[in-house]
Amino acid sequence: MSILKRTPLFDFHVAHGGRMVDFAGWEMPVQYRSILDEHKAVRHAAGLFDVSHMGEVEVRGAGALAFLQSLLTNDLAQMTPGRIVYSPMCSETGGVIDDLLVHLRAPGDYLLCINAGNIDRDLAWLRAHHAAAARAAPGGLDVTLADRSADTALIAIQGPRAAEIVRALAAGPAEAAALDALKYYHFAAGLTIAGVPCPIVARTGYTGEDGFELYHRTEDAPRLAAALLAAGAPLGLEPAGLGARDSLRLEAGFPLHGHELSETISPLAAGLAWTVKLKKNSDFHGRAALEREARDGPARRVVFFKTGDRRIVRAGAAVNDEAGAPLGAVLSGTLSPILGEAIGSALIDAAALKAGRALLTDIRGAKITLRPVKPPFVELKKRGGGEAGKQKDREAEKPGD
């Protein structure tokens, strides 16, 4: 048997009624009170998520930028300290090993945030390519990799009241002002929140709402979570589990690795062409395959859909046309708690999509029509502080984490 790993907030979850499940080898709360209620709390007030199971990897050295540029499809060349970029990391076939966030702390000092279920795979991939790059560098490779997952905890505070809650716990007026000014896809370094040192406070998240992701030491997590909940509860903050996290990201139209992105679903097929910089000034893994796919067009595409029906269309369900010919399969499905109807994503034959063929699936003998929609499924408010209207940062928009 295998022993499930626990985050430093395990006792917090149990104390708040968390229903603990196995998620990628971690014992995590799928919900506390109700997935639907936690989802609505995040859309209308705020939610506290433990995402400490996610991995953190430091990539440092004079060669760090070139090393990451060779592995990631997005372009990091224009990053300045305090910026965050979302990128797929592809194999030679253009399939996605993982999708991740890159934080630039200082020139030659990067922190990657990677999916919990992919930590081992990512580390093996990074180390193998690090070794290959070292062999190919006659003068030696100035890049070090360090897995910081075990000593890094991560709490996300998400929702329209998130900024108010985190701000109230800032160490003083200057730190509060720094939080106010923090733009979407930027982070502040070295703030203290509720007395807890946070090397990174990032204006990011996986819900489509405004909010922060607070990186801190493992041993500080219970104290930080308790302080955030105490400060936020009067404003409607609730602990929220993985169930709400999944329905929120799907409603926002963000991909989840293993569903909308995988080793067989490229970023181009997933509709993330903006994360693939074919013109960037360095070669990268998957480039040739992605160039071909960009030229010919993906054979299959990820499409988001709603159904006008409350019955949930579940991952794996076959999608056919009216004559029963197979067109693809469902990747994710849930009930949108805000719309009160089933929403989801499916991988569909691109020619059939272009021809506007009907997309049908079956639920217990009933034919359900999938109606393609461009996400988000709900209206999302402006994320991040600073001057209004500067949503050029949308380019940095992050889906999966």
């Binding site: 229903r19 799928v30 919900q31 109700s34 997935i35 639907l36 169930g243 329905s247 409350r310 019955r311 949930i312 579940r314 849930t334 009930l335 217990r364």
Partner: protein, 129 residues
């Protein structure tokens, strides 16, 4: 609501449905507090039409939660006389009030001895341990 709530005046099936028999030869059927809690947020309830004849043990409908879809089983035999149409737009009532507003359907009892053969509250409490 207490998830271990097991009203003493009801009968229970091992498949987690409850039965409330009325003086008029009908029985109201729902799922237990324990069952709704195990399922989590209920998002859809599929029920038969009035007039449908059910045999004890028949799958008569489906209750869907965010997690999964689960069959519902008739604890006793009978003819459906009414279904709770309020659940179409508010299936969460099954979570909120499984023994009240979250009832599923009413049957005209076909075999009056069948309810007596079901578990009583103590028997159901022992089942879910």
């Amino acid at each position: 609501m207490n998830n271990s709530d097991i009203p003493a005046d009801l009968k229970y099936a091992k498949s987690h449905e409850w039965v409330r028999t009325g003086a008029d030869g009908t029985a109201t059927i729902g799922i237990t507090a324990y069952a709704q809690n195990s399922l989590g947020d209920i998002t859809y309830v599929q029920l038969p039409q009035p007039g449908a004849m059910l045999k004890a043990g028949d799958a008569f409908g489906v209750v869907e939660s965010v997690k999964a879809a689960s069959d519902l089983y008739a604890p006793i035999s009978g003819t459906v006389v009414e279904v709770n149409t309020g659940l179409d737009s508010a299936p969460e009532k099954v979570n909120q009030a499984p023994y009240g507003e979250g009832w599923l359907l009413k049957l005209k009892i076909a075999r009056p001895a069948e309810p007596d053969a079901l578990l009583d509250a103590a028997g159901y409490a022992a089942l879910i341990g």
